[in-house]
């Protein structure tokens, strides 16, 4: 009887811990967890000033006129960022077609600000068709980078060829400076739906 009671207590405690650790069975991975956090907690993006491909300052976080779609890149990236750049170009077209270009801006942020100076950002932007108005490429101050990556839940690790691997995605920030949604980088339809949701 005592053994049964002890076992039942262990099972209940164990299930409670696992329930807590997986957000009620919804998120077994950190990637899924950060997407849930964006939808549920709407974390505030740090108020920082980025430097764009034209060398002009661009505020991120805090109240802004337009909602912002953020992706993270580094310009010397050979593979996935090139694909992500093509997807971003397609998304820019979709945003224009949906008539959202007055209420939405697209920003590709470099997590390698040491190497990605405005010239490198500009070359990347021109290569992928960023016009600098609807879609711009920018870099943060290196001191702001850790807080920025932590808020978005972006983890950058070195690959074995001198580049980086990171959890590539599209991040929707509303005009109040809050992270509201994270969707797959190759799912512009989901990004557009999320943008519609935060733009009135």
């Amino acid at each position: 009887m005592q053994a049964l009671a002890a076992s039942v207590a262990v099972v209940l405690a164990g299930l409670a811990v696992l329930w807590q650790a997986t957000d009620g069975g919804q998120a077994l991975t950190a990637e899924r967890a950060r997407r849930l956090t964006a939808l549920r907690d709407m974390p505030a993006v740090p108020e920082v000033v980025l430097e764009t491909m034209t060398g002009t300052p661009l505020p991120l976080g805090g109240p802004t006129k337009r909602a912002t779609l953020v992706e993270f890149i580094y310009t010397t990236c050979p593979t996935i960022c090139q694909a992500a750049g093509a997807e971003m170009a397609r998304l820019a077209d979709d945003v224009r077609a949906a008539g959202l270009d007055e209420s939405v801006r697209l920003v590709s942020i470099s997590f390698d600000p040491g190497r990605d100076d405005p010239d490198a950002l500009n070359a990347y932007g021109e290569g992928h068709g960023a016009d600098g108005a609807l879609w711009t490429v920018a870099r943060p101050d290196p001191d702001d980078l850790p807080a920025l990556l932590a808020t978005f839940g972006v983890v950058v690790i070195p690959d074995r060829w001198g580049g980086f691997t990171h959890n590539t995605a599209l991040h929707v920030v509303d005009a109040g400076g809050r992270l509201r949604a994270i969707v797959d980088y190759d799912d512009p339809a989901a990004a557009l739906t999320a943008l519609h949701g935060v733009v009135q």
Binding site: M1, Q2, A3, A5, A6, S7, A9, V10, V11, A13, G14, L15, V17, L18, A21, T22, A27, L28, T29, A30, E31, R32, A33, V155, I157, D159, R160, T165, H166, N167
Partner: protein
Amino acid sequence: MTLPRLSLAAALIAAAWVFRAPLEADPVTHILVQLPLLALAGALLPGARGTGGAWNRGGWAMILTAIFAMAFWMLPRSIDAAVSDPAVAASKFLSLPLLVGLPLRLGWPRAHPLLRGFLKAQALAMLGVLAFLYTHAPVRLCNAYLAEDQVRLGTGFLATALALAVLWVAPLLGAQGAAAPARRHRSVS
């Protein structure tokens, strides 16, 4: 007897801590070396008084404790958090000895042989599932590790399953060989 085992347990935990940077840099050594080292350290700890009580009959409560703690550390997000969050890292160094290794040692000897056999079969099956998942998943399961390291970890799970299968099956073959003459002896007399 207690003191050398206690020192060995402390040495294992110290080694897992001191070498955590190189061990955690690769998911294969993180999952298949560091975590088992910590659990082994817990298994060497002297058992608290009273663990032979009625509440631990059949070892069920202790074995279930270990199973739930292992389930927590099988979540990819737990491993990611152990690398990025110092509080979760600390909980790893506490929970694997105290909630996996120690309870397994206190529960296993009291478990019915049928339950032990079932748990061994489950462990092999689970490692097989993990091996398939980690070698075939189309996405990265841990943000802290590369896709090719994930595949190597899957292969590591498979190798562990095979090694455990050999380890657990070999004594059975040996016992059969030894038991057979004994039975003949009995039947003759």
